[in-house]
Symmetry: C3
Subunit: 364 residues, 3 copies
């Protein structure tokens, strides 16, 4: 295991040190679990409380921390704690240990083009015409489809699959089991179906004719920008005619589903198990909490934020903060929740009022 001096870490992150900056640490640790060779992460007074339960000599602390009173010998001063975490964890990440080079068990079509320094893990398959940019790392058991393109410096964990004709930018990262380029879920019935009727009438469909579903194939694929990350077992479907699109810098968490024809702007964040139906247009910097659902064919403006579990059933203007099912403004939803909890009592109040009013009426 490699080790670093406090000085080396601080320089890499651009931060100041106090105390003995030549002290060496081998890993980062939570304050209460830190040993004498660890760098404790105590970037707020709340976390620093646990330092006494550990044995840390060095820590990363907030700028005006009284580090000597905390019993430390050396500290790094971190102005914005989570930004500091980013630099520190990138520096100390030991990774997955995927080997360089092409593993002999990988099955690579002779027409595939691999850039300089591409690594391909054991039992990966790269299909005809696929192109992989320089410095990319294709993990064990991955599948890269026909004519698919992946940019430079990609990192694919094990068992990722990329369908035919999918195009992906640089620095792509995919967690295990991510599926890009699945056929879209699109069917039609020969005659108007009950489900189509409901969109107009909302009424029950007991008389609807029973029909079989006919498939609409996906002629489009998926196009993904630069710096995109896709979570474990997440799924992104092909477009019907044109490509489904994920913009630069978007991050999709585990088990997220993105339907056919969806188009997102840049720097969106979709948390775990979020589902986006077909043909949704999403702006830039949109943040959807875990288990958010978005109905098909709507528009989500720039900077929209949805709390976890929100079901977005209609267009959302830029900057809107949503919550609930159906999703409404978070402030409104909070008031609704409060009122709901008072509902049972309210019913009694109204019953009492009715009685009182009726009595008043009869005494007139």
């Amino acid at each position: 295991m490699s080790s670093y001096t406090i000085e080396e870490i601080a320089q890499a992150l651009g931060f100041e040190t106090r105390g003995d900056a030549s002290l060496r640490v081998t890993r980062a640790a939570e304050p209460g679990a830190a040993g004498p060779d660890d760098l404790a992460l105590a970037m707020s007074p709340r976390y620093a409380e646990a330092l006494g339960q550990g044995k840390a000599r060095a820590a990363m602390v907030w700028p005006d921390a009284d580090w000597q009173a905390l019993g430390l010998s050396a500290v790094i001063l971190a102005p914005r704690p989570r930004m500091a975490m980013s630099g520190l964890t990138r520096m100390m990440d030991r990774g997955q240990g995927f080997a360089a080079g092409i593993h002999p068990s990988a099955v690579i079509d002779p027409t595939a083009e691999l850039g300089e320094g591409v690594a391909v893990g054991p039992l990966a398959v790269i299909a005809a015409g696929a192109k992989i940019g320089a410095g990319s790392l294709i993990g064990p058991h991955c599948y890269i489809g026909w004519d698919a393109e992946i940019g430079e410096n990609a990192f694919l964990r094990e068992m990722v699959s990329i369908g035919a004709r999918v195009k992906i930018g640089d620095r792509f990262m995919a967690q295990p089991g991510a599926r890009i380029g699945n056929d879209g879920f699109s069917y039609v019935t020969p005659e108007v179906s009950g489900a189509e009727n409901v969109r107009k009438t909302m009424g029950d469909q007991a008389g609807a004719k029973a029909q079989a579903w006919v498939r609409i194939h996906s002629l489009g694929a998926v196009r993904i920008g630069d710096d995109v990350e896709i979570g474990a077992n997440a799924t992104v479907d092909n477009g019907t005619i044109r490509d489904t699109q994920i913009g630069d810098g978007c991050k999709l968490d585990n088990l997220v589903h993105v339907g056919h024809n969806v188009r997102t702007g840049h720097d969106c964040l979709f948390a775990g198990q979020t589902g986006i139906s077909g043909s949704v247009e999403i702006g830039n910097n949109v943040v959807l909490g875990g288990q958010t659902g978005v109905v098909d064919n709507i528009f989500i403006g720039d900077g929209v934020i949805a709390a976890g579990g929100t079901k977005i059933l209609s267009n959302a203007p830029a900057g809107r903060v949503l919550m609930g099912y159906p999703g409404v403004k978070m402030e409104t939803q909070t008031e609704i929740y409060k009122a709901q909890r008072r509902l049972p009592r309210l019913l009694k109040d109204i019953a009492a009022l009715k009685k009182a009013v009726s009595k008043l009426g009869s005494t007139e």
Copy 2:
């Protein structure tokens, strides 16, 4: 890339043409993005508006479109646009490019039986006693379990897994990472558990005895009809004693979960991330929107439709259209939603009423 004349496409779909039907096109495109060799899809006036931004000479349009006024040289007249999309996309689908024949890296047990023309992709595994019907295509990295049976003309994308003893009909289609025949999620505690108690009392369970879970194994498997499609990373569990059953023509979207012992009729459609708990009985032509949840041991009648996000907590009669959590008739839910948004204001109204009535009472 292959090309088609307007005449060839129209004949294959059974539609009429207008203009120069000998014009050749190579692919379908959205009106605004169509080039001179594309067939623009402009089956409604709304879509046709964008034709001016593209360079299409040929388009598929609605029956009485004034195609010459739209600047087109040749058109195909499509009476029901989405049905036309089905035929057209099937015709133009370039597929995934999976090769014919058995890839030498596939691991196939000598007791497995493969029908005529079966293709098996690189690094697929076919276990002892498995049977694959003629014309089926088993994608790269697939696993077909012990004694499993798949009918004719199946198409399995990469990394699909089919467990032991699963039986599947003809024309089966599975997207990447679909999992059929997982063990059911079924446990029991030696004594009655808090979770069992709640079904009766609904009260808090602070006094419940802490117990370990004992597994109930799945002796059944999964039986799937003809023309079924299963989405990417979707999961269908084995039955406990008998098989879990998916009827003919059912379509399951990505990340859908079907629990043990579930039984569905034919032609159901379950959209993305829908979850069906154990032992649910589902009729024919049931449509469940994305992220629908169905509680265990209930009955969903023929033709039931649930809006996205619905949590179905009790039996649903045939033809019922549901929405909300808990799912109630869509019409009722829509009224509830409207009333909810008025709730905060309602609370003020009632407070005012109380004051007014109390004042009236005291003035008597």
Copy 3:
């Protein structure tokens, strides 16, 4: 197929028999579908009704069943039916037929350590430094990462992936496509983001600065206790600094997501598609119904039970039974639901009251 006498089954389960205990059966069956060589499962009068539709001669019944009146020749008396199911199904489970030994197509790093009797399926990959305990069965296409450790008697179905440095106890069971040790979903922006602001203000964020997301890497891994089972395509993420932890005896269903830094006690049960955000602390014996969502950084006490679809947005004390979005006490939620359905009518009542009161006021 093996067969058992009624006596053998009863002895293995510790139950009593009545009638001809030498009768042989080959499998368990539902009463209505049971043949003459099956053991019908009729542990309640409701299930026993269907015996007449089948041909069972032997059955497992409730303790004081009048088995002769049910037309049976031999019975096993089961005091707690589901516990009986556990023993019986374990005994009769034919399994997946995974072969013993190391398949020649598996790719095993020479530095990996495999205990006695470990079986490794075709095309599995075991990375450098991995340790697998005696008697464990690693299915086809599995991936065991760098320095990962799995205890004794594990059973991994096909295509399971275990990331670097993950540590797992004994008797681990994983369904197809389960993903343990994915990178956590953790990002930060250089300056305070709209999503951070919302946690304080709840207001719309139209003026929020558009920023790109910077990754916080996962230095921790996942630590899993003994007797844990993980469902198909479920995902468990690495911790940021320390390990994410799943306690002894926990059972996670298909498509469940457990975020980074989560820590659970022992014997929890998370049903299908449940999602747990980062840094949640969960007690012992917690039961979360299907599609439950848990917001980040909260605490769920021992024995908490959540109904399917519950969104838990704040700390839950031990023993609490929750339901709804947001999750509140089940009793409260049930009253809220009832009141909600009366809401549209309530609005009319209040309008009428207002009119009556105003009339009363004017007549004074």
